[in-house]
Symmetry: C2
């Protein structure tokens, strides 16, 4: 009986990166199918009606299980491949991990990605012209307040969600890593966050992300440097 996984993802999509990191951390092998989500490939829309990445397809004996959207995939992996556990051991840890997943998927995405990544990445991918400088500025300012919040959490905790590495760390790192590709993370003003990020960045699960390159979008010089 053969079993395999295929992940439909866009390499610079923070939600896709969360899933790649977690698959790596759990040592679950998978095939990659990079998607240019903005082209709305019919085969992708057939898998996920929202047309968005990530989509994980698990195949066993000719039957496909299709799991769409990052939260659904992360919860599925916790349920079906529980080692190492990344959600938390008790209700309080799990609540905190999930609170932070929501924080990055929604608040960070609205306040930072929708400005900074839209202007620096999406506009280039979709051919929408030059970045709007006011939006870039607002996105960078919002990023600083999120960095301050992460820094505050890390002053009280070993990892973002508490005493143990969790999905919250991978959600935060996935989001920051895309912004870091474009060189926009003010690491030196937030050394606590930088130290935490270096710990995540040096994990084996992170390596594939460091080799991501997208035509026409060059990464910042330090992007794949583990000692940046």
């Amino acid at each position: 009986m053969t079993f395999d996984r295929t992940l439909h993802h866009f390499p610079l999509d923070p939600a896709s990166r969360q899933v790649r990191l977690v698959l790596g951390e759990k040592r679950l092998p998978f095939r990659e199918m990079p998607e240019r989500y903005w082209e709305r490939r019919p085969e992708l829309t057939a898998l996920n009606p929202s047309g968005l990445t990530p989509v994980l397809v698990e195949s066993e004996a000719g039957r496909n299980l299709v799991i769409c959207e990052s939260r659904a995939i992360l919860e599925h992996l916790e349920e079906t491949a529980p080692e190492p556990g990344l959600l938390g051991r008790d209700p309080a840890e799990r609540a905190e991990t999930r609170r932070l997943l929501q924080w990055f998927d929604r608040k960070f995405d609205y306040e930072v990605n929708a400005l900074l990544l839209h202007e620096k990445m999406e506009k280039r991918l979709l051919g929408l012209g030059a970045p709007d400088l006011a939006n870039l500025r607002a996105g960078r300012e919002a990023l600083r307040s999120h960095m301050a919040y992460i820094d505050k959490l890390l002053q009280e905790r070993d990892w973002l969600g508490g005493r143990r590495l969790s999905l919250a760390d991978f959600a935060a790192a996935a989001n920051l890593s895309v912004i870091d590709y474009f060189g926009d993370v003010p690491w030196n003003d937030f050394t606590g966050v930088k130290t935490w990020y270096m710990r995540i960045k040096s994990r084996p699960c992170f390596r594939p992300l460091l080799t991501d390159r997208w035509p026409g979008l060059a990464p910042a010089a330090h992007y794949d440097d583990l000692d940046f």
Copy 2:
């Protein structure tokens, strides 16, 4: 040993309504603490740094467990109060339920609520002036395409997520119910959706939502009518 639950919520917040419906469906009693989230009450921000509703506080023997954000609360309730199960029995059902949770929390929220509810509700609550008619029109148009999608799902299934009532139904109903408060759901153009909504609306868990009223915001005449 006393155990009690308090839900901090805003009565017309779709995310809060998801949780109220599920607490009701699972017959879990709770105290209500209505929040005017836009005032950013310090006690609420102390519980949830995002300042958003819903927040569920479970107290036992003087110890509080604070669970923030709707997805975290719904997953917590499935884990700690599993009857009746609303997530699905196997990985495929659970993946489909969670895909649809994401659909309503993100796609519906971006495309419909951010326009329609923002113009009709938030602007009044926050004193931001008259609704923008172009935004209202765009929100109503997006709502029609979501209604068409729900209709399509219901042509193939008994409930939104599949053969069983699930969190997906409560997510959809919670969102539509707030828009219905303002009289903006085109029920008569989507009779399959209307029939499904009547089934949900007549459940005991729905009753508290039908008595919600907010000062200065009158509901549509049919809002609390079970046979609308």
